[in-house]
Amino acid sequence: MSAVSGIEVPKLEWRSVAKRFARAPVLDGLDLAVAPGRSLVLIGGSGQGKSVTLKIALGLMQPDAGQVLLDGVNVTALSENERRPLFSRIGMLFQGAALFDSLTIWENVAFRLVHSDGIPRREARERAIAAMHLVRLSPDVAQLYPGEMSGGMQKRVGLARAIVGQPDILFFDEPTTGLDPITAAAIDELIVDKVRSLGCTAVSITHDLASARTIADEVAMLYQGRIVWRGPVRELDTTENPYVRQFVGGSSQGPIDANV
């Protein structure tokens, strides 16, 4: 896991990924790899392309150039049909939880089981309740609708939905944004706990440095379409890298152009 990481096949890798939208290049030669079982947090300013990086990894967006490799296999150009089976190994927690409004909580959590895996509803419900238990949601809320829950609880449901299929990789898009510090800390704890106990690889995006410090093994910083720094989380505060120093310090002075 540490010294032999050069030989080990990364769980997930971006190679020279480039993407541009109408106005400007968003990703410009992105190279990043995540070793199995490690938790990587991607930090960077708003609009720097963190979400795009995630979406390209998931195949929700196609890169203009470069490759994405999953367990060493190039998955960039797969069609939707070919990609679908891969998703059984992936779980994602979206920024707003992205729960299905017209379904109950347990139906949301069990969605994959019922509609993709063809598991009977009764069994799926039980597994959903078990997943909810892992994120400390009581079975009482199983019959509620997403609209009836707070943002923090919705995120927990989203997490339960992401882990119910026993994934290898978990993605987190701004998991603590918009939550109060206490709820944010609770979510962070849950993420750390699940990633450890399930042995998942995790890739997260966040602005929240406190959250990053909690959930990350490693941190990478994205600026102008490239990775400008990569290191273990404890070096976040000690590194000399000017981009990191400016970002962590929250200053408008430095190499990062604050007028985006």
Partner: protein, 244 residues
Amino acid sequence: MAAAVGRVAHFAGRGLHAAVTPRWFPQQILRQLGAIGFLSLPVVGMTAWFTGAALALNIYSSGDRFNAEQVMAQIVALGITRELGPVLAALMLAGRVAAAIASEIGAMRATEQIDAMVTLSTDPFRYLIAPRLIAAIIALPLLTLVADIIGVAGGWQVAIHMLGTSPQIYIANTADFLTAWDVESGLIKAAVFGFIVGLMGCYHGMTAVGGARGVGRATTQAVVSSAILILAADYLLTSLFTRL
């Protein structure tokens, strides 16, 4: 413009492919049938009644008294089954259903629910879009059938009260003049219109961008484009049918 047509055609192709090949989500199809079909009955029923009655009133006031009994029954029956039934039911559905579909799917797009569905190994075209297309194609002919019946009834009411026609004579005249093809051609039109309504709702919903305002725009576009395509298709189908 050509690019837009191309995009819609591509979308339509994907939707149809998802609709006719396994795997299907029967529960979703049934739910959509209820939402699109059954819940549109009141609107369609009222539209049909008033249209049939208005049509009969127009004939009455146009002064053709010689054959008024026959003519009124004939014109109402033919007008409703061939044109007004399918077209007006479809336009009502465009307003009600295309808007509802576009706003629902648009909102799902905006809140990343569509992306979430993909990450949950479920094809949104099969789970969301195909059921709506199938339901619309099935529901609109059925609704048109109801519209035909109620439209004739509306004209019948006018005939009884304005002309003093005997209720039975009006019905007998209607039955004499109406052919199966009149009703069938209307139902074929309705199936095409149903496809249009479902397609426009889904397409504009899926391609909505820009948050709440984008969803609003998508909803309006779905209704307007449905209406225009329905009327254009009506013209094409009518000219095709009247040549047969």
